[in-house]
Amino acid sequence: MRKVAVSGYSIMKPSRARKDKGEEVYTTEQYQAFALNKLLDAVGISKKNLNSMKYGIGLNRPMWPHAMIWSSEVIANLGLSPSLTFVSDHGGAAAFFSMVQGYLSIASGKLDHFILIGADTPMMPAPMQSRFRPERTWRYEINYEMPIGMVGPLSEGAFIMRRHMNQYGTNEEQLANIAITSRKHAMLNPNAYLRKPLTIDEYMKSPVIASPMRVMDAVIPINGAYAIMLSSEEHAKKITDRPVYIKSFETALNTDAENDLRDITDLKMGAATDKVLEESGASRKDVDFLQLYDDFTIIVLMQLEALGFAKPGKGGHFIENNDISYNGVLPVNTGGGQLSGGQAGTAGGFSLFTEAIQQLRGEASGRQVKDCKMGLVTGLGGLGYNGNLLNKGVMALSNY
């Protein structure tokens, strides 16, 4: 197996399509084109050169325009002739599983490069796919959640949050701490959307949509796009002097599959994390930062437990006693995550990877984690029925 590295990346400015505020109003298809263009500029590869390489294109399945976007349609739109394409349908974990697929294609020696384009425009109007929601959603939501008045992921997340609070005494102040720290980081990140300070008072006053879930416990949807280029080590070194290596990763899907009475507060990612660290020749002490998939504040807290940085049920306690700022003992979501950076639909997880890449390349300016060498990035997607997350992954990235 060949070593695989990130050879380049691009980030598009986030937008909520507010023309009155001077924000960009682009469709997913425009974002895909612009993010690719920006990436090629960054790595100094012309489109003509690209089409002479052995490469693949990986995409998330966007929510906009509430219709299938076929990978071959996208490459036709972009005028590309790759050797392989795929679309990841892993929801929030689309970025993670795209990294995995790209890695495998290159590590096996079959391809030299993989370009992952994450783009989505949930703030862009498009024809409705169903009477009550923009998109025809999961079957279990259509049949067992919507008829009783559930309100999508927020209500599913609320079950998890309530249960964790009840089971372990996790409180609002602890969860607010995650939201506020994310905002502090976003204020230092020009690619984040929410960049005004967040106070505990504002958090406590933010509306409770599905109790105990507040607006400030959830992501803010944005239109946005990211592109990441993966290359074999040999090729990456020709493109950049700052390659970021995929050291190791583990995925876990539909854990606890046979247990209808599973504990929804347990993400069950400990064994995966142990394996990733072992394969990276590292221990938890060597981890310079965590970029944790953050659809909700409670999911960040639960990952601190699940990844073994806090004891089970003690995530809240951990946050009270440990600084998770970029300059703290265990920096978490140093770019503001999706909570404050914004979630570009099913491409939202890409922002966690671009943040890790920027940190490891030393390009995180005002929020740079000092001397960082390696960090973990997670991907989570698909809340599932009576579960927590169906698609899970932990990846170690390093600059050595």
Binding site: R131, R133, M146, P147, G149, V151, V208, A257, Y385
Partner: protein, 136 residues
């Protein structure tokens, strides 16, 4: 009738579940081979992979595993706005499954995790009923 609310999409896997509810029966899937009970209805037993599943009548009794009070309706029919705030719970039935359901409003506000609940039935059409639970 709930014309302006979404209805489940009836198919060969779930038709008996929703039909049963319209006849005041809470039917759950049980594996004939290994005895596993599961929810929501699926094409096979997720434990032993047998396709020999039967529908058994649930006691309709259980307890609240978790719950949420919906204050704002998003990603669903605006018709639900007339009912906010309303409580939805993940109910753990004695038969060893969990299902999501409305908690009836008269005392739903006082719901706590662990509270005992019993099913009541809301008939929507000849083919479809929905389970609701009330606090005991």
């Amino acid at each position: 009738m709930q014309n302006d609310k979404p209805l489940p999409e009836i198919d060969p896997i779930n038709s008996q579940f929703f039909k049963g509810l319209s006849e005041d029966k809470l039917l759950i899937q049980k594996c004939i081979k290994c005895g596993n009970t599961q929810f929501y209805p699926k094409a096979i037993c997720v434990k032993c992979y047998s396709v020999d599943l039967e529908w058994v009548k649930s006691s309709g009794e259980g307890k609240v595993y978790s719950f949420t009070e919906i204050n704002r309706v998003i990603m669903n029919s605006k018709e639900f706005e007339k009912e906010v705030p309303y409580v939805i719970a993940s109910v753990e039935l004695k038969e060893g499954i969990r299902l999501y359901s409305r908690i009836l409003s008269e005392n739903g506000k006082n719901v706590k995790i662990g509270d005992p609940v019993r099913v009541v039935f809301r008939t929507v059409s000849e083919e479809i009923g929905l389970p609701e639970f009330k606090l005991l």
